[in-house]
């Protein structure tokens, strides 16, 4: 899966670089001078205690917030201030901490919505679902069906999403993000509220997306077992600052990380 018009990067090249990013809301500093990078085709975890600024960081990356200071470079280009849909068009897809799907639409329609960013035919044709619009829709449906097959959600294809159990909704959300064929996939707590079996399934899907399509993945997750198993590198935030960065093993041994998670005697 590849998005067009950008320099082709090899595995291991820096895909996205966050440099000295700070984000403030009035007097509140959500992020302070954070720098790290995400390399092509890796699984990168962002962890930290509650309120550490993890979701704010993702929001900066997908253009929902614009950093007060510092810069974000994506595919070699320093990013100007942009809107989320521009980030999406640029190849960044995400899922949300609390599922954000169209509840009364079917699974299929939700995932097709993820393709709308790729629709090229004009509004007129789409309105009547004829001519080029129809041909395009068939093409898109093909991609969507492959994703449905990939995530094993054939049986809920026509079920309104609101009627599905939470674990499946999360899977539909992932499907919709995948439908954009993203260069970078941001997952905000993909396993939250899942039982063990659902977590195992989701882990398997994340690994397969990464391996089969070479999609770069950045994820926020609280289940340390999952994080340590899945990710290639981990960045740790605390109170909006980066306190550690490295492989799961390095991070696990880092004293500041242990203190941040277990608390420290003052």
């Amino acid at each position: 899966m590849r998005a067009p018009d950008h320099p082709i990067l090899a595995k291991g090249d820096v895909l996205l670089a966050v440099e000295n990013v700070s984000l403030g809301f009035g007097g509140v500093k959500a992020l302070t001078d954070v720098s790290f990078d995400i390399r092509k085709s890796e699984i990168r975890a962002i962890i930290g205690p509650n309120g550490a600024g993890k979701t704010s960081m993702l929001n900066c990356i997908n253009g929902f917030y614009y950093p007060t200071e510092g810069s974000i470079t994506f595919q070699g280009l320093k990013r100007p201030k942009m809107r989320p849909y521009e980030a999406a068009r640029g190849g960044i897809a995400r899922t949300f901490q609390n599922v954000a799907l169209f509840k009364s639409m079917s699974t299929l329609d939700n995932i097709m919505a993820g393709r709308s960013i790729k629709m090229r035919s004009n509004f007129f044709w789409q309105l009547f679902r004829h001519g080029p619009a129809m041909r395009e829709e068939v093409e898109h449906r093909k991609v969507v069906e492959e994703i449905i097959d990939f995530l094993e959600i054939q049986h809920i294809r026509k079920t309104p999403v609101g009627r599905l159990p939470y674990g499946l909704q999360k899977r539909v959300e992932l499907a919709r993000a995948l439908a954009m064929e993203p260069e970078l996939l941001l997952l905000d707590e993909p396993m939250a509220g899942m039982n063990l079996e659902e977590k195992e399934d989701m882990s398997r899907f994340i690994i397969e997306v990464n391996q089969q399509f070479g999609t770069t993945i950045a994820l926020i997750e609280h289940d340390m077992g999952v994080v340590m198993d899945l990710s290639d590198r981990v960045v740790v935030l605390e109170y909006g600052r980066k306190i550690a960065d490295g492989t799961p093993d390095e991070v696990k041994r880092d004293q500041r990380v242990i203190d941040a998670y277990l608390g420290v005697a003052h």
Partner: protein, 660 residues
Amino acid sequence: MATAADSREDTFPKLLARNARVRPDRTAFRHKDLGIWQSWTWKEVHEIVRAYAAGLQALGLQRGGKIAIVGYNRPYLYWTIAAAQWLGAVPIPVYADSVAEEMAYVLAHAEVTLAAVQDQEQVDKILSVSDQMPQLAHVLYDEDKGLRDYDHSRLHSIVSVIEEGRARLAEPQAMAAVEGELQAGKGSDLAIILYTSGTTGRPKGVMLTSNAVIAAARIGCDFDKLDETDEILAYLPIAWVGDHIFSYAQAILAGMCVNCPESPETVAEDRREIGATYIFAPPRIFESMLTLTMVRIEDASALKRGMFHFFIRHANKVGERILNREAGIGLWDRFLWHVGNVLVYAPLRNRFGMTRVRTGYTAGEAIGPEIFRFYRSIGVNLKQLYGQTEAGVYITMQPDGEIRADTVGRPAPGIEIRIAENGEVLYRSPGVFTGYYKDEEKTTETKTPDGFVHSGDAGFFDQTGHLKIIDRAKDVGKMRDGALFPPKYIENKLKFYPNIKETVCFGDGRDYVACFINIDLVAVSNWAERNGVVYASYQELAGHPLVYDMIEKHVDEVNRSLASEPRMGGAQIKRFLILHKELDADDGELTRTQKVRRGFIADRYAPLIQALYSGATEADISTEVTFEDGRKGVISARVKIRDMDLYPIEPATSLPEAAE
């Protein structure tokens, strides 16, 4: 159409070649993939199977070799069966949900050298136990998802094997050799080994020849007049004899179309899309569909709910008789049923994916009579059949118009049935198995020298010539005068009454049948309230004369029904008593799954049994009990015994023993 198969086509690959000749462009297989029904014609299937056979040959599969098939119903897995048979090798389908250890046992026992599996899950399972199967040389898979980084020295995709075969067949010499293998196959060759799961001990490999499987398949094709226009949805385990006969043997024999669902969860919807004309399901599937409907209907609007219940009641009254084309149904009732058909029954059948179903079968275990009747009353021609792997499924079937919930039907065409002295059902037909693979001992135990097979089930033919299965044969005892004593059969008849919660019958090796009865506290106390019976404890209620009178009536009815059934009359209950306490798992009297532990109860209540057979009218008993908090105590009681009048046994008429 089935009859068109002439005797030269005595193996399934030959029948496949015939289909490719007779109906090349008819759809043979469909599989829903990526949301679309992909289809293959008989001509295409023939070409694929031939190339596949050549590919398997290149991997070293030879006549007499073994290949395991593991997975959900997929065209490529069915084609593996055909390709193996093409070469004269023996396919061995294995239950996909069996754990690795079980699978290792079967694969090692069958000495398979190749395994064709569905996906990564099954590949992993087989690789994890590969050290227990040193003879396994190659593993083939259908879906490549997740397998890209595996070591492919012994792992191949089925498609690549077919491609390899196709490349080889480009040479005329190779083509002639493969066609030669097809012609070398004989009907007397082993066609398949089906391992039965078996509740006790290791699975046994049931060997069936091509002749046997074709004979069995022909029974069903002729009986229900299946032809190439029929559609079947293949969704039951391919290792199960039912699926092998229905979705493979009959499909190829009659030339009908096999449809493979998208995933196990989409079966109901896929069946609706396809409009299957022929369905088969174990009772639990019919049960769960009905339950789901009933639950959903409770959420419907009051108008719809009322309409549903009104017409379902009406269907209950006349639906089944209309389906049976019985006479004497009032014009108004007929009219009302047809209105109901438009408003309720037809939409329901559509929901269930049964709009086009001509015949549906259920088997495997007893289906609840009310569930069975429900489907028939809304116009689904559901039938029961009694079958076994060793018989190639069919033993008895229900002909149209003779369908009842409590029997399993008449002997299927070509099947001879004999009831042994001990009540066991024995059968013989051209479709029976050759033997258990590598188990001579079990084979001689199961098969008599004259070719009859011990079914292991006890049963009898009723007045109409229908077979009724009563129990496992090993559980059926004999009384001193030689009469049969089927304990579970009698106990189930008693437990049919809501007032009776549990019963234990005695009679094996005795002069007459006697039984313990446990009353159902909820039902009986309710009855006591309505009838002004005053009591202080369970013990007092159980010993109350009026309760005894009521239970006596139930026992009397059971006796009357036993007396009217052939060979059951000797098992009428002569004496009974009502136990002073409930049988309880905490006291070891029941298993944790609420089954009676006969031997234990016989020991514990020995004085009571003695009294039942000594002619005493009451007996004293004290038993140790465990209370809910774990304390132990002793309950003593004086239990009364009632004598029953027995019904005269109907003279044994010469009922159809060996029917055909």
